[in-house]
Symmetry: C2
Subunit: 208 residues, 2 copies
């Protein structure tokens, strides 16, 4: 069976809990690697280079863009954010399934470049739950919550561009679902044609 790493893009509305979901998934199963983004913003207290982000200067980041070393990037609030290709390819080549937890525009850019990517969308059980989770963060004002819901409404137009949906009602169950979804992709015929060919050759030798 095929154990080449699979590139998995995970998106979902703000507040749906995709960060927690992915952290739990990678903690539970060793086969996953969470992609680490590059950014030009300053490290916050407690953040380590190569863990939360790869921290880069403007010059370094623009050099990465110029050399095509980013899978996707964007500029928000005067800073660059992007996904370095090297890290992803290194993890994939080691047989790890690499998870890119990125917002929708970046996600669709990755899909456009690489049709082999597995596109997952994390859904809340209902919109009210989303609001409650956003309010539960405390740090968010009602105005910010409203902005996030408006953005979710915008993103909802492109959900059909994803391959699979996972409903995050129960964290434990959602983690298992995501795990089984990704595992199943390793069983795709197209990923196992070499193995099928090998059995065919063995059959030929037996039949003579």
């Amino acid at each position: 069976m095929d154990r080449k790493g699979i590139l998995v893009v995970v998106s979902g509305y703000s507040g749906v809990g995709k960060g927690t979901l992915m952290k739990e998934l990678t903690a539970r199963y060793g086969q996953y690697a969470l992609s680490v983004s590059a950014t030009t913003r300053e490290p916050r207290e407690g953040e380590a280079d190569g863990r939360e982000y790869f921290f880069k200067t403007e010059e370094e980041f623009e050099e990465m863009i110029g050399q095509g070393r980013l899978i996707e990037y964007a500029r928000y609030c005067d800073h660059y954010y992007g996904t370095p290709k090297d890290y992803v390819e290194e993890q994939l080549s080691q047989g790890r399934d690499v998870i890119l937890e990125i917002e929708q525009q970046g996600a669709l850019k990755v899909k456009a470049k690489d049709t082999d990517v597995l596109m997952l969308f994390v859904m809340p059980p209902d919109a009210q739950t989303l609001v409650e989770r956003l309010r539960g963060r405390d740090t968010e004002s009602e105005e910010v919550i409203r902005q996030r819901l408006t953005q979710a409404l915008e993103e909802s137009k492109y959900v059909d561009r994803y391959d699979y949906m996972v409903v995050n009602a129960d964290l434990d169950q959602a983690v298992e679902e995501v795990h089984h979804l990704i595992e199943s992709q390793h069983n795709m015929i197209n990923r196992n044609l070499d193995f099928a060919k090998q059995i065919q050759t063995e059959l030929k030798d037996l039949v003579g």
Copy 2:
């Protein structure tokens, strides 16, 4: 999440153990229904109508063909064999995932008619294991084993028409793999667009 039944076609080389695999799967999980074939051959001792087969007369079977009530059918050794549509549709409408364990030609006919069907191919870990399992049946002469291997070699040319592959090395693990594969299909975006739409409507109401 979508719980409409999924039609699953399962094929695999003779001796690979797909019958045992499907029996174990349906015994373990209540969501599956094994399709029962119709045939014009006589019932053998211990076989019950509607359990091993639906036993039909030639006239009844040809009437079913004429009325388009078979998903696929074929004639072997002077008898008809086929998959009745009614039973499959009844089970699907009750939300069960229906498994058709049929040989490759029938499988490809089903796929040609219904692109929504999930096509699974059960593989042995290697060809030698297949031979040993065929020999282990005792009832098969070396000549029959050779015929089955020749047929497997022929079938190996069409493995790429299937969607997913499961290697039956360990029964318990293979059962779980098939289960997770089918479960994952329920998460496909295309099967859940109504749910996505519902969340979208709720978001619209919240944003106002």
